[in-house]
Amino acid sequence: MATQPQASGRPLTVLVTSLKWLGSRGMLHLALISLMVLWSIPTIVMLISSFRDPSDIASSGWWNVFAHPFDFTIENYKNVLDARGMWQSFLNSLVITVPSTLLTILVAAFAAYAFAWMRFPFRNALFLLVVALLVVPLQMTLIPVLRLYANLTPGAELPSFDLPVLGGTIGGGKLFGKESFVGLWIAHTAYGLPFAVFLLRNFFGALPRDLFESAHLDGASDLTVFFRIVLPLSGPAIAALAIFQFLWVWQDLQVALVLLGLGDPDLHPMMLSISTLVGQFGTDYQLLTAASFISMIVPLGIFFALQRYFVQGILTGSVKG
């Protein structure tokens, strides 16, 4: 954007330059804000619906809310939060999602580094194979995986720890195989690897070659380079990956249903518990809207926690309007 017009000089020039500046800045804001508003409409619709009575939702549009501003209810939210075992499911979701995300990032980072900066036979072919695996439909993989898990001897029951004050338990389930959190961690990691490796390799590969050359000249080993150079410089990529892997595991229904379900409902993640709030014919969907906002809080929190990695911040670019 052009720098600020000099305050000296003829007023007309100042006016014209200001208008031009305002014009293109104005356009920017207009475009951006209208897109944001348009984008938010469905979300707002959902928000409003979550505060309405189910019989209202089916009979009138959400804009009627403005005509009857006090016709709202927090009943839906209460019903979701009150639902039996919902807090436990929330904890379960955390127990399932956090380790899966961390594990995926770790495993993928190692592989991505190898693909990006090490030479070995079949490197390109293997990499393409890894990326191609993105296409494998989840449901087909679940049958052999289920069979595998079902055949694994479950091992010990893992201990579970009661949370003080907040209530609920962390942990539990079997050691591995079906009905085990460990089994879920491994499965989610595997399913997340193709994208993770693809993404990280792209970013790792973009790092300047001389960084590595000088490090190796100084005698640094691969591990040192990895932890001291590559990881710290790859903040944005890892953050992006973290958000999405977290999001996908958090929202997952299928894998949990197949690998955990039919077993202990106390192990169910939140998505699974929410889906059982809805009746056989898909009624009570107003509970879904409320439940969705509740379950959205954590991923949104992660987004804001990591947002500095993809937000340019005031320091980039020139003078802001």
């Binding site: 984008w39 087909m140 993404l199």
Partner: protein, 321 residues
């Protein structure tokens, strides 16, 4: 290159290769095997299942041709719009102070579980214009147009998810009612939901890529008098291209797997089937694992041309390094 023992890269790759092997490669091989067997995977039938896909003998149950064409539509339109909007926001939002809020707005749809997503969009697309937002808007506009003397089909509500007619029938009766191929109102309606959902994905990854562009370079360019478009074309685009490739490739492959969205909103009915929903229905609802597996294999074959394109891109990047 530093002196590495030959087995070092493989050590770094090992966890990835093992996990992928068990969870993705082995099931893929199993799927390919099943595609040559009969419905319950008992006896060999050779290429019969593939013949079924080519000949499409039972379109009422499984319309393979429609599904394939819809997939192509998704792969092109969905990817294009999602990448374009994500890029637009990533760049535009970087220029304003409320960047984090803007990006959060676009990100929120990704944080909503797809079950709630489908609930809300079913409301948006509701046929009854007293309840459905989109129909309320279009019939409102249609009413205004009619008052201004221009009669059009807009004044009638549209069955967005069920109408498989060609798009211009929204406005006028002129032209064909049904276009050959996948150009249907409901396909576009579904793709809109997909774009709304996934734009946050491209936006975040592209933002992460933009972070890597040094601000001094951008400053210098602006001081030298370059306008925004030139900056984009000469500086941003070349650096961002590999990331755009990653994002597009992932998206295109993702559309091959697009199952949840279509399944929950229309179940593949009204000619909105894609290969993933068709495969799921064939295998798990009808119980025909032979044709189901064959469809999954076809899906996986779709990825081959995509991979070829990516190979070229990576060879190019290798040369730069």
């Amino acid at each position: 290159m530093i002196g590495r023992r030959w087995w070092v890269p493989w050590l770094w790759l090992a966890p990835t290769l093992v996990l992928l092997g068990v969870f993705l490669v082995y099931p893929s091989v199993d799927t390919i095997r099943r595609s040559f067997l009969d419905t319950r995977s008992d006896s060999w039938v050779g290429l019969e299942n593939y013949q079924f896909i080519v000949e499409n003998p039972r379109p009422l149950v499984a319309d393979t041709h429609t599904a394939l064409m819809n997939n192509v539509l998704w792969m092109t339109m969905f990817t294009m719009f999602t990448v374009a909007i994500g890029l637009l926001i990533a760049i535009l939002a970087g220029r304003v102070r409320y960047e984090a809020v803007a990006k959060a707005t676009i990100f929120i749809p990704m944080a909503i579980s797809f079950v709630a997503l489908s609930v809300i969009w079913r409301f948006m697309y509701e046929f009854n214009s007293d309840i459905g937002t989109v129909n309320a808007v279009t019939t409102g506009v249609g009413g205004l147009l009619r008052d201004a003397g221009m009669d059009s089909n807009l004044s009638e509500p549209t069955a967005w998810l069920q109408n498989d007619g060609s798009p211009q029938t929204l406005v006028t009766d002129a032209g064909p009612d049904d276009l050959p191929g996948p150009f249907q109102i409901n396909n576009f309606a579904l793709i809109t939901v997909g774009v709304w959902n996934w734009a946050g994905f491209t936006m975040i990854i592209l933002s992460a890529g933009l972070k890597g562009i040094s601000t001094e370079v951008l400053e210098a360019a602006r001081v030298d008098g370059a306008n925004e478009w030139q900056i984009f074309r000469r500086i941003i685009a070349p650096i961002l291209t590999p990331t755009i490739v990653v994002v597009s490739t992932t998206l295109v492959i993702q559309t091959l797997k697009t199952f949840d969205l279509v399944w929950v909103m229309t179940g593949g009915r009204f000619d909105t089937d894609v290969v993933a929903t068709l495969f799921f229905r064939q295998a798990f609802v009808v119980g025909d694992f032979g044709v189901g597996a064959a469809l999954a294999v076809v899906l996986m074959l779709f990825v081959v041309p995509i991979m070829l394109l990516t190979i070229r891109r990576f060879q190019f990047q290798e040369e730069i390094r």
